[in-house]
């Protein structure tokens, strides 16, 4: 069952009068519960493709279907709703709200999205997520008081708080040491298996993409190779 379908996606940036092609006609299909790594060297288009899947950037041409909804020509409000309900984001530099503590950062998407939960239900769910990422004793800490690995765990909990079908992670381990990076990846994989959430993340680290079930190799804006491992997908 496909959850993301990209068809001939082209993205061209304009740097003054110069056109810089970032994606040159990418088509791919990802299924629900997939754990996908987008691999490739710098400038290959990894971040661009994640931004397009995550609906925070628009392609120059091509069509996109996410969670059975054709979002190609969707308006701003519709895209915002899709990001609220269907998508979660994990950023390379964590992007936590610095004035909020761990609990509040994880709770934020639920409040922005006006989720239909009681206050108690919301608190229990946020506490559960924080425990899942192993930060139960850091709930009242501000991001500045946490290590990089801990901040990325908060970001993972925040990305999962609205129970999205898809989580996008742009180089989630790039700012972490290799051991912490592996821990983060294992945490993502654990959630992927337990909750059947589709994860799409980018990396240029061969060690990290070895952990993925499905690896898409990009070069100069094209898919040059795709590798899938047989895995059990929960339906």
């Amino acid at each position: 069952m496909s959850i993301i379908q990209l068809d001939t996606i082209i993205k061209t940036y304009h740097m003054g009068k110069v056109e810089v092609p970032a994606l040159r006609g990418i088509s791919l299909t990802l299924v629900k519960g997939d754990f996908v790594a987008i691999a490739g060297p710098s400038g290959s288009g990894k971040t661009t493709i994640l931004n397009i899947i995550g609906l925070i950037d628009k392609p120059t041409s091509g069509s996109i279907v996410i969670a059975d909804k054709n979002v190609t020509n969707m308006k701003k409000a519709g895209l915002t709703r899709m990001r609220q309900k269907e998508l979660g984001f994990i950023f390379q530099s964590f992007n936590l709200i610095s004035v909020l503590n761990v609990f509040e950062n994880v709770e934020l998407p639920l409040i922005i999205g006006k989720a239909e939960q009681t206050k108690a239900e919301r608190r229990d769910w946020v506490n559960y997520l924080i425990e899942e990422v192993g930060l139960a004793d850091r709930k009242k800490h501000k991001p500045a008081e946490l290590s990089g690995g801990q901040q990325q765990r908060v970001a993972i909990a925040r990305a999962l708080s609205t129970k999205p079908q898809i989580v996008i992670a742009d180089e989630p381990t790039a700012n972490l040491d290799s051991a912490t990076g592996e821990t983060i990846l294992n945490l993502m994989k654990k959630i992927n298996k337990e909750q059947n959430t589709t994860f799409v993340f980018s990396t240029h680290d061969p060690v990290i993409h070895e952990l993925a079930d499905h690896v898409i190799f990009l070069k100069d804006g094209n898919i040059v190779r795709e590798r899938k491992q047989a895995k059990e997908v929960k339906k």
Binding site: N51, A77, T80, F89, Q92, I97, V99, E104, I111
Partner: protein, 482 residues
């Protein structure tokens, strides 16, 4: 949550917050102090004028120009303007008296005259009054010597300031019983009236009232201003007099030796004259209750909103050629000058506010640009336009409200400092404006509320453009800066 983010963000970018708070605080302190002084001055003037000579409402004849109790409010045409007599004065008086909001009612004749007293000569405004109703209407008038003018008598009352001026200039004090000459010149020739001074009075809070005013009986004022007189007495001319009027005019000149006066050979004794005077039908004094009046003056009951009443009264006056005006118009130039000052001050303040808003917008824009990643992240995790808008507005309105409160605190501190200095004012114009001859400002709760409201409006207006810029930030900014 929005409040938490907004509030904590203020501390996060404390330097910008402090600059914005300082700017708004100074603007609000200026607004608060300035308008408190003007409002107090306005209230002082209002009370003084109402209690001393304008009442709450004045009914006058409709004119093309704004008219006070002294004549035209425009100085240039003042000399060429004569105050029109009020038509249907009795009907309008009865109509006004029927309103339950009206406490007291009196009438007045006004006009300029030249006052000769001793060797001194002054141009003065003469107020012809009905003593029975005038003095109860104006409790601000205090008697310093002599007595109040009485109904039916001819006489004048001078202000204490005028009496002192005369004494200073001539060395001779003005005494009750002294005669004064009042004269006018108009299209119908010169009018001169000699009347005795019956009393010397002063206005309460006199610093704001012109010392020139002379109060006289209505008859004298009417004569000076060529206004028709009438009496409500039962006087009827003897039949013989009427006969003359009805006879053929030629008969008056007929030479038939029937001249009654020439034939009169009997002498008249003193006793006969006395009897005639005692029993005669012709009155010795006349009760000049009626005749033309220029103004009807109303004092309203406490708590009545004078502008609402004015509107109501003017609706009733629609069929007449009269209109009602408020105390400020009736008081003339000094009260209008305070209003003008208030407008000028606020116009100046508006320029400062505009400059302040521009400065605040710049600072808020810098804050928005510095927070592109944060706002982009919020967009990426699903924040709508409304959420971002609400967040920025909340932050800025919190700053503005805090700054507004601090501005009032600063304003109050400055007011205390100014009051503590006990500065006295010698210039009568400035003291008229302030309502005191010493600078003393009282805090105004209403103005404090208005100041906080202004600060919130300032915060809102300053935020509009930065919010527009924030809404243009795309979610991709979250990663672009990452």
């Amino acid at each position: 949550m929005i409040f938490i983010i907004a509030f904590r963000n203020l501390f996060k970018s404390i330097r910008h917050t402090l600059i914005v708070v300082f700017l708004i605080m100074v603007i609000i302190a200026l607004f608060y102090i300035g308008n408190t002084v003007l409002e107090e001055s306005n209230n002082g003037l209002r009370t003084t004028y109402i209690l001393n000579y304008t009442g709450d409402i004045v009914i006058q004849e409709k004119t093309d120009v704004s008219m006070s109790l002294f004549g035209a409010n425009t100085p240039a045409i003042g000399e060429f303007f004569s105050i029109p007599v009020l038509n249907d004065v009795d009907t309008i008086n009865a109509l006004a008296a029927d309103f339950e909001e009206v406490e007291t009612i009196t009438r007045q004749i006004s006009g300029p005259a030249v006052l000769d007293i001793g060797t001194q000569r002054f141009g003065v405004p003469v107020f012809g009054i009905d003593p029975d109703t005038y003095f109860p209407c104006f409790p601000g008038i205090q008697l310093d010597a002599g007595r109040f003018l009485q109904s039916g008598e001819m006489g004048a009352m001078l202000t204490k300031g005028r009496a002192e001026q005369v004494k200073k200039d001539t060395g001779v004090p003005v005494s009750v019983g002294d005669s004064i000459l009042l004269s006018t010149a108009g299209t119908t020739g010169f009018k001169i009236r000699e009347v005795p001074v019956v009393g010397i009075f002063s206005y309460s809070n006199a610093v704001q009232i012109p010392d020139e005013i002379v109060l006289t009986d209505a008859q004298t004022a009417r004569a000076l201003n060529s206004i028709l007189l009438a009496t409500d007495s039962d006087y009827a001319p003897p039949e013989t007099t009427v006969d003359i009027l009805t006879d053929d005019i030629d008969s008056l000149f007929m030479d038939e030796g029937s001249d009654t006066i020439a034939d009169k050979t009997e002498s008249v004794s003193l006793a006969e004259i006395k009897t005639l005077l005692e029993t005669g039908t012709e009155p010795v004094t006349q009760d000049w209750k009626d005749g033309g009046w220029n103004f009807i003056i109303l004092r309203l009951k406490k708590g009545v909103n004078d502008s609402d009443f004015l509107k109501k009264l003017n609706e009733k006056l629609e069929p007449f050629t009269a209109k009602a005006v408020d105390w400020r118009t009736a008081a003339g130039t000094p009260a209008l000058l305070v209003l003008l000052l208030q407008y000028l001050f606020n116009a100046g303040l508006l320029l400062i506010i505009i400059a302040g808003i521009i400065a605040i917008i710049n600072i808020l824009l810098i804050t928005v640009f510095q927070r592109m990643k944060e706002i982009g992240t919020l967009r990426a995790i699903g924040a709508s336009d409304g959420y971002v808008r609400l967040l920025i507005f909340t932050e800025n309105i919190i700053i503005a409200a805090i700054a507004g409160i601090l501005g009032i605190v600063l304003g109050n501190v400055l007011i205390q400092v100014i009051n503590g200095m006990g500065i006295s004012v010698n210039n009568s114009l400035i003291s008229s404006m302030l309502g005191h001859d010493r600078i003393f400002i009282q805090n105004s709760g209403l103005m404090a509320i208005a100041s906080v409201a202004l600060s919130v409006v300032l915060g809102f207006l300053s935020s509009i453009y930065p919010v527009q810029i924030a809404l243009r930030i795309q979610p991709v900014e979250a990663v672009a800066k990452g």
